[in-house]
Amino acid sequence: MTTSTTSTTGTNTVADLDERRSGTSTPRFLLGKIGGALASLVLVVVLGFLLFRMIPGDPVATMTRDRPTSPQQLADLRERLGIDKPLWQQFVDYFGGLLRGDLGESYSFSRPVATMIGERLWPTILLVGTATVLAVILGLWLGVRAAWRRNSTFDRVQTGIALTLWSVPQFWLGLILLIATQGLFPSRGMRSPDAPEHFFGQALDIAWHLTLPCLTLLAVIYAQYMLVMRSSLLEEMGAEYLTTARAKGLRDDLVRRRHAVPNALLPTVTLVFLQFGMVVSGTVTVEAVFSWPGLGQLTYQALRGPDLPLLQGVFIVLAGSVILMNLLAEVLYRVLDPRVRAT
């Protein structure tokens, strides 16, 4: 027997001619992705700028289309918005302001847009964060179970529920929940005026208000995650390395846990991040229904005006946050999936 006796051969024992080349280096990858995200952000800013200045000619007319306005008022408004200047000048002013954190002034509230967005940011993060975390847990868990028992009753029922929820407009689900639970949960806002002063009481009060909006948001997005997880795992089920795992004598659940799920999870995790835009879209209607004091409701209020500076600010902040999440997803994917590092 000549096991493990000679290790003098060093590293070059294998004469294979087709050594694999390693992939892009990490700093290079990061620079590329951050550069891409910055380009996207600039594109968002330009898009926001153009959208609200150029179509269809006179934003002031759009803003005031629902109420009578004198020519003097219109001229004042033009000057206040800075749209009497040439377009390039406007863009420079706007971009410069943006870099200083100045998003202009709201037309209907007469307050700085940036301040208003700052106030509304945390409630939205709370709502979106809670719903996403719960949806990911629920969706992935159900998706794995459904895929592993494909065509079982569990799979059929769960897929059916998910497909139905996926077809439901979120705002309507919110309305229905409101009607169905009449009075059980608060129907608007984030806090009650009579909530206890101490921290625990406040937290409980907020959680109380959070229940329905969170549930509404959760219902639709978990369905998406579940369907993605299910199909992603189904795709892995025919993979040959699973046969290897079974041949090794692994139990069925170990084959699933150790081999199938880790592979299927990777594309799903990215999708969760990529679909963050969908979640953000969802919050707009859900917050409008439940008067949750976040960015979504602010959008809704801006639409009433229509308050173009405010709308533009919200648009840039929401789109920008989605781009940042996307960047995060790409970096995370590279950390998680060894294959990506090579390609």
Partner: protein
């Protein structure tokens, strides 16, 4: 040569139908769709349009369901049944038109990005990815708030914000097809861009586009209802979304007028679910990759 080719096509269509009809969900969905589309098309014939007018409405406001008004009345005393009936027309019209726009842009961008590599592809891909991650509803809101209100605006807003997913799908499929050796063979035979795209890529991509279209109609209907709900729709036309907007605005929710909320919402769910089921069934039948797994 024509007759055997046509025979083969007819046989292929028969097989497709056979496989499709084995999918119960798809079949049920298709049934619902046919019924709803026919009813919506016949609405002016089988119902009286004058009932939609606020002034001539005969019922008392927010009346629960009764024999006279099977689904009750809205805040203006109009029949909810009649409104739901007519709402279908706007919802379906916007759904279909926006889908055609979106799928057209998506297919064009997808095939172009995949077929002609180089900088054009890189730019298109970057552009697609940019619009893919943007919250499409927020963009649609922005668009429809600056354009004049109306059905055309809604169609445009939904259509031009929902194409990136189709573009990604078509691009991926085109890349798969173009990596096949028979494309290389066609090039070696002397085929140019038009030959490759027309004879090989399009016929292979279109079935998937069709399945995808069905799914896009569903999401377009939801998008339409959402925009209308936010008050961005055509103020003169009744759609399911605008009904729900009026419901929320007029305090029907707090009043517990469930009959006002349920019909339009359920209609959306049923129609979108039907499109989704049909789309998924078509996908399993038409996508060879999905057909393969047991």
């Amino acid at each position: 040569m024509t007759s055997p080719v046509w025979q083969r096509r007819r046989a292929a269509a028969a097989t497709l139908w056979q496989e499709f009809s084995r999918n119960k969900g798809g079949l049920i969905g298709l049934g619902f769709l046919v019924v709803v589309v026919v009813l919506a098309a016949l609405a002016p014939v089988i119902t009286d349009e004058s009932g939609l007018d606020v002034i001539t409405a005969t019922g008392t406001p927010l009346q629960p369901p009764s024999w006279e008004y099977l689904l009750g009345t809205d805040v203006d005393g109009r029949s909810v049944l009649l409104l739901t009936f007519w709402g279908a027309r706007v919802s379906l019209l916007v759904g279909f038109a926006a889908t055609v726009l979106s799928v057209f842009i998506g297919t064009l961008v997808g095939i172009t990005a995949a077929h002609f590599g180089g900088w054009l592809s890189a730019v298109l891909l970057r552009f697609t990815d940019f619009f893919l991650v943007l919250p499409s509803l927020v963009l649609a809101i922005a668009l429809s708030s600056v354009l004049p209100k109306g059905i055309a605006t809604i169609i445009l807003a939904v259509g031009v914000t929902s194409w990136p997913a189709t573009a990604r799908l078509v691009r991926a499929q085109t890349l798969t097809i173009e990596s096949r050796p028979y494309i290389e063979r066609a090039k070696a035979l002397g085929g140019g861009h038009a030959h490759i795209v027309g004879k090989h890529v399009l016929p292979a991509v279109l079935p998937l586009v069709l399945a995808n279209t069905t799914l896009v109609v569903g999401s377009s209907i939801i998008a339409e209802s959402t925009l209308s709900f936010l008050g961005l729709g055509d103020p003169t036309a009744v759609s399911w979304g605008s009904m729900l907007q009026t419901a929320l605005g007029s305090g029907s929710v707090t009043a517990g007028a469930w009959w006002y909320l349920l019909p339009p919402g359920l209609a959306i769910v049923v129609i979108v679910l039907s499109f989704t089921l049909v789309g998924r069934a078509l996908e399993t039948v038409l996508n060879p990759r999905l057909k393969g797994d047991r």
